[in-house]
């Protein structure tokens, strides 16, 4: 297999240039998808038989919940690449993913709580999904705090990579134990999302929203990553040229 692509990916300069070309297109597609998915879900989809109109929160809650978990797993992969191949770009990706993932995790929690009020009558409910999402938020906050506490870039790169890996190993254990804890203390309750039994008029906008949020995450990550590259490579000539070119604009 040709590994050139992988090793090229390790070059921050190459990534900066490529991402610069792709960014506007990705942003446009993301905006279009987001508008389509959310407006379809808000206005055009029929209301739920049981929950009425409050189920429309699903079009934000489910994508952000998916993404919060997926981003953490991506961070774990980036951590492995950092530790094994010592790729700077992987560590930069890990650093930039963390605040985005944490904000999505927070949004999933808040929308989950807001959804819970009309559905179950309380603002917060300790069900398995929401509790696991809360613990995921703790994991995110831990990585961000550790990054902030260490000055040296090299040290913080490897330390955050280890912490993320320990966290990702812990996630299945947490999910299992929380799930078990939850079923122990509550009877069978209405699950927050029952995707398989969704009608197509509701499923399509949900899928579009999920795709839209993934793309949005990619766009925002690239935005942060580009600046992080400029920051870390600030002594190189190509960064000087880029920055000066921007100044003349």
């Amino acid at each position: 297999m040709n590994w050139t692509f992988f090793h090229k990916l390790g070059s921050p300069k190459w990534f900066y240039e490529i991402s610069g070309k792709w960014l506007p297109w990705l942003a446009i597609v993301a905006a279009l998808l987001m508008a389509t998915g959310l407006i379809w879900g808000l206005v055009f989809a029929p209301p739920d038989y049981l929950q009425g109109n409050s189920y429309r929160i699903i079009f934000i809650h489910v994508p952000t919940a998916f993404l919060a978990s997926a981003i953490y797993v991506m961070m774990a992969f980036a951590g492995i690449v950092t530790l094994v191949w010592k790729m700077k770009l992987a560590d930069m990706a890990l650093k930039c993913c963390a605040p985005i993932g944490a904000s999505f995790c927070l949004l999933a929690l808040i929308t989950g709580a807001i959804w819970g009020k009309p559905t179950w009558g309380t603002w917060w409910v300790w069900d398995a999904r929401l509790t696991s999402m809360l613990i995921l938020l703790f994991l995110y906050m831990g990585v961000i705090a550790l990054r902030g506490a260490m000055r040296n870039t090299n040290t913080s790169a490897k330390a955050c990579a280890i912490l993320t890996l320990v966290g990702v190993i812990n996630i299945p254990i947490i999910k299992f134990s929380v799930q078990w804890w939850n079923t122990l203390h509550q009877g069978a309750t209405l699950k927050l999302t029952e995707k398989p039994s969704m009608a197509p008029e509701m499923l399509w906008p949900l899928l579009i929203s999920i795709a839209a949020f993934y793309l949005f995450f990619t766009v925002v990550l690239i935005l942060r990553l580009r600046t992080e590259i400029l920051d870390r490579e600030r002594r190189t000539k190509w960064v000087h040229k880029t920055v000066l070119a921007r100044q003349e604009n």
């Binding site: 959310l38 206005v43 109109n53 929160i57 009309p118 600046t227 960064v239 000066l244």
Partner: protein
């Protein structure tokens, strides 16, 4: 596809659940805006930092640009128009470096006096 809601009022009301749906979407909008604004502000901060660094390293003896070199050449070189622009700029670079080193020495002397 037909709109489920008949008018704007029922869209906002959402069958009684309007508060929940719209506050959830409002939070969503907030997080989306944060995720767009935060990287842009980060970029502005870093780029301006690097620009300042580059400018300060540049002012210690690099080319200043064509206009300034022309005006200086008029005063210092007189009628040497046959010379290529590059030569002129090179001379100016050296002249400017010497000027700078004189300035730095003067500054050092001044600072020495203060102490």
């Amino acid at each position: 596809m037909t709109m489920y809601f008949e008018n704007l009022a029922s869209l906002i009301h959402m069958g009684g659940h309007g508060v929940y749906v719209w506050s959830a979407y409002g939070m969503g909008l907030l997080i989306i805006v944060y995720n767009i604004v935060s990287p842009l502000r980060f970029r502005e901060r870093i780029v301006s930092q690097i620009q300042r660094q580059v400018r300060s390293s540049q002012s210690r003896g690099w080319n200043l640009g064509v206009d300034k070199s022309l005006s200086l050449s008029k005063s210092s070189n007189g009628n040497k128009n046959q010379r290529s622009g590059a030569d002129r700029e090179q001379k100016l670079t050296i002249a400017r470096q010497q000027e700078d080193s004189v300035n730095i020495k003067a500054q050092g002397a001044r600072e020495g006096e203060v102490e």
